[in-house]
């Protein structure tokens, strides 16, 4: 009964943490734009949280830079279980245009496990919503 309830609440209100690991800001403003009236993800119960301790889903934008690597791991460890990671944008998937730069490790998956990849440079806010919905479907099934 309790697990049923937690599952239900988890599906109905996933809280996200938005983390920039070296992105060019384009994906970041699109993630924020998804929260504003035109797209309004809050109607699905999705809330942007400021601290990893409150979050269920980490929305990562940007390639992992060397400087952010340790912080990224630490933030991932601070997030309570069960936790999920969405890599938003081409950079978070593979490094995109920054591939080969000396301070870039590559995609987010080089550092922490990723559940959903959302392609685009930058992604559209609707794609971010689609990614979150796909993640929720994965949880359901």
């Amino acid at each position: 009964m309790l697990t049923k309830l937690t599952n239900w609440s988890r599906l109905k209100s996933p809280w996200i943490l938005h983390l920039n690991t070296g992105a060019c800001n384009a994906c970041d403003i699109e993630v924020v734009a998804a929260l504003t009236p035109r797209f309004d993800v809050e109607r699905f119960g999705i809330l942007l949280k400021a601290t990893p301790r409150h979050a269920d889903v980490i929305v990562c934008t940007g390639p992992a830079t060397r400087q952010m690597k340790d912080r990224l791991i630490r933030i991932y460890e601070q997030t309570p279980d069960p936790k999920f990671v969405i890599a938003v944008g081409a950079c978070a998937m593979s490094g995109c245009v920054y591939r080969g730069a000396y301070n870039v490790l590559g995609g987010i998956d080089q550092v922490i496990p990723v559940d959903v990849y959302v392609p685009g440079c930058p992604v559209r806010p609707d794609a971010v919503i689609d990614g979150v919905v796909k993640l929720l479907n994965k949880l359901k099934g």
Binding site: N20, N25, D28, V32, T36, P37, A101
Partner: protein, 400 residues
Amino acid sequence: MRFQIPIGPQHPALKEPISLRMTVEGEIIRDADIRLGYNHRGLEKLAEQKTWIQNIYLTERICGICSHSHTTCYVQGVEKLMELEPPKRGLYIRTLVAELERIHSHLLWLGVAGHEAGFDSFFMYTWRDREIVMDILEIICGNRVHYGINTIGGVRRDLDEQQVKHILDSLAILRQRSEYYQHLGTNEPSFVARLAGVGYLSREDAIALCAVGPTLRASGVPMDVRKDDPYAVYDEVPFEVCTADTCDVLGRTVVRIKELFQCYNIIEYLLKNLPSGPVAVRAPRRAKPNEVVSRYEAPRGENIHYIKSNGTDKPERLKVRAPTLGNYAATIKMLKNGFIADVPLIFAAIDPCICCAERAVSLVDARSGQEKIISMNSLKTLSLKVSAGKARKREAEWPL
């Protein structure tokens, strides 16, 4: 009693990774220090491995909010190196996108300022209206954020009658909304009370610390690259440089709202006087050995690109001085003797774009409060020196 408070790199008040270290006495900040490098990607080095055309794609991704500023600045420089003269229509469209970008960036900033001041409905309002600009940009360029419209020798897409009409119609709505924001930003008592007097930066300090953009203009210095050193078609377009003399966050808000109206005027002028003809000229693949400095007034301030060519199809050096970097020194001045609660607001007021500014490589060693900037090489020798005499961890004896 002094305490050190670290803020960031991941912090509710900051959307991008940056670390601030405040030394506080009670509630009052006595000293502030900014640590960078979380977003450093090594773009300048990467640019040396790519051709002139590929670098447009790369410079666009220096920053997502002022993506057009960086490409225009870069492309202008390369055009000077290649001795190209872009056609008038191309320059008009380039300027049009630049002004649209300024509108979207200022609306975005107004929203963030409202959010940091605890006025979230203002944030939602401005971001809703920002979508109108994003739609225009999508119609012109085919993308919402990275426009990809610049090319060496002009622009890549032309405008048609229908698009011009759509832009003018949308501008009317935006103008009406901006009037409401102007009223709200200057008359709403709680909003004004929150912003007035916060983050004071005197005129002398602003000049001495090399502040740029709206931060500088809000301290009463009418400095704008568009007027001082006109590029593209700004020498033909009538507009005013907006200033304020309150020297605080309220002044910076007012300057940005005033600039919105100037942007609408400029866009209307551009669309009404759009010349006919081609939008781009063919560019050569190589540039003669030379060097050039290109200036551009980005929404956040003056953007400078230094480009050096060596006769091949790749640049020898690309140096970017983003406006946010120019504002850091002034930010520290503004933070000093302020309250901790004002940090997000003051920091947001320079419209920081950390991804723009992350060019410089310097390592800050911050052990035991002693801070020094050391180069990578001396750090290496230091680490060798420290570890030389000690037994390695795995060879060390287990104490039990």
